[in-house]
Symmetry: C2
Subunit: 360 residues, 2 copies
Amino acid sequence: MERSNGSPGEPPKERSGADRPPTIRGVAERAGVSKSLVSLVLQGSPRVSDAKRQAVLEAIDELGYRPNAAARSLVARRTHTIGVLLNDMRNPWFVDVLDGLNSLLHAHGLRMLMADGRLDRRTGQEFARAFQELRVDGLVVVGTLPDTTGLAEVAERLPTVIAGNHEPRLPRADIVANDDERGARLATEHLIGLGHRKIAHLAGQGLVGDLRRRGFEATMRDHGLAANAVVESGDGTEEGGYRAAVRLLSPARGGRRPTAVFAFNDLSGIGVLSAAGELGLDVPADLSLVGYDNTYLSRIRHLWLNSVNNASHEVGRRAARCLLDRMAHPDAPAAHQLVTPELEIRGSTAPPWDGVGAAP
Amino acid sequence: MERSNGSPGEPPKERSGADRPPTIRGVAERAGVSKSLVSLVLQGSPRVSDAKRQAVLEAIDELGYRPNAAARSLVARRTHTIGVLLNDMRNPWFVDVLDGLNSLLHAHGLRMLMADGRLDRRTGQEFARAFQELRVDGLVVVGTLPDTTGLAEVAERLPTVIAGNHEPRLPRADIVANDDERGARLATEHLIGLGHRKIAHLAGQGLVGDLRRRGFEATMRDHGLAANAVVESGDGTEEGGYRAAVRLLSPARGGRRPTAVFAFNDLSGIGVLSAAGELGLDVPADLSLVGYDNTYLSRIRHLWLNSVNNASHEVGRRAARCLLDRMAHPDAPAAHQLVTPELEIRGSTAPPWDGVGAAP
DNA sequence: CGCAGCACTTGGACCGTTCCAACTCTTGCG
DNA sequence: CGCAAGAGTTGGAACGGTCCAAGTGCTGCG
């Protein structure tokens, strides 16, 4: 039988029960060197003899030693961690942004700590607190925030980049987004070019929603079609798109119905698709439709939606670039970058039927 | 002009440039108390006089002090952080799992650190290293892992729960998943109940794919329809589902075509939808279709897919429960929980047309 | 009056690293 | 031979918290 606990009088070298994970001291002892030398080996210092380096590496392996990131970042005052704040994991476009972000950050030895602002019903203030306590080296805000009050304060202390949104404009936070107004122009020009005259826009919320609506209205005006522009407001969901489209397309509505719809995003565009189907309208024969974001939804064959590509991946890459720059020069003035969107043509638009609505 | 650096001889009280964030000592000094007392206030100890508590809170506010999580977890040997490993953020069902996980973990003061195994092309070994260095208090693996070799070792040291998958079975890792075989039976019974006889299954990969296929085959066998069961393999993507469906449904194929398809998941089910449309088959009039996972895709009106609800949210909740239990009792034997799935009826199934294929 | 007991407060050790100044050998050169 | 230079190695002081044993007053009781 073995003694499960040290006999009295014996110095309590090892505590019974919870055996802690090995530390740098344990490794040093096993390798017969000082903890400083182990630290040097861990950092790949060139001024360590091969013999000792070998001994240390073996000890690390035998003990299964893993450096403690907390202790390390405590003294180094860097965590190599970037906080990423998402507003809604259910909206698929952010995945591409993350992908773009990750490629660069990972190459620079940074890891991403993600939080969904909607998932944990935290206000801007609270997520800020959590990220500050963790001492993340930087912050990326992806998309629209429900509450931006806390952000200004955080941006003062932490390198911050806003990706996929144009606000809030802060003195020390960079902004990387796609040119929403221009994207809306692309979509609208495309529909006008096909011969459509009476065109509806299904608007979204926030500044991004405003910009896309503005682009639509400006383009209609430029073509002398201001009187034919219809705007219906939605909420960016499929359900909202469906309801708005029912209002737009019902025969009960006075005057001609629009022959084309430009939707705020793919999700609400799909709502339009559903409403059109129920009203017996074929897309694209009876109704042309353009969405926004070019998500994988638009690429589903059964939906096959024309959509404005907001270059999420590129936005993510550039946001990472910005963040790295800002981490190097925290006091640089805030930059504001726009990525040029492109229209992705698939199967949801066509010239208006029989020229109906084509006459000025 | 101000001196940018301390004059020689002057004790370097404050470093020029980077003014560090305030520490507990700074707060103590400002409030005129010891750092120990500040610590007590931070922990909400009842044995602090109201006067001093007030002074400390004011100092904290004035300085904008935030406790350093690294320092705190170093001595407490707890990080209050749970590592969450996702395999693919593009697959929408995990969002619900996360939601369920979060509700319980957040209530217990734990935060989630997410990593996408596919996003950073890390092998099982490497993510394990990162999480171990961070000393996360626990680990949740959501879905299928590309490489599980590292997991066994991690599970020995870290409370670990596997959610949404049935493998690998490890002595100290709990498993919470939906009963895939049973879900497949539900879907198949539903189709048989409608009168379908020749039914195809579009299979998926991994153990989950196997279980769903097995459930399908067993049910067909139980109804004496083994000879009418067709299995085509796919890869869980829309593209894969499309191609498999083209193979399944093309008139060129000898014998009668199946009148119903049970797809491994919603995404590949949508591929089937697309293929059916191109081949001129109406769903559900000419072809019945059932998917799996009950993702928001299946709820899109224009798709409106019958789907097996895998209770992701409940899986997430139970996984959190398991993890909390295991953190309390690390040496408890591994538990293996199955959540019962339910079939969600929408618009993608109907009795076979004119009884074709209904005769035994 | 002396002192036990309570309420509150404090200094200092410790957590597991990194970093720096200082130390010990070798080696080579004048 | 003496010593400077360099390579390799080391102890100890941070880093910013928590926790514990010990301290300080003050009150009330014998």
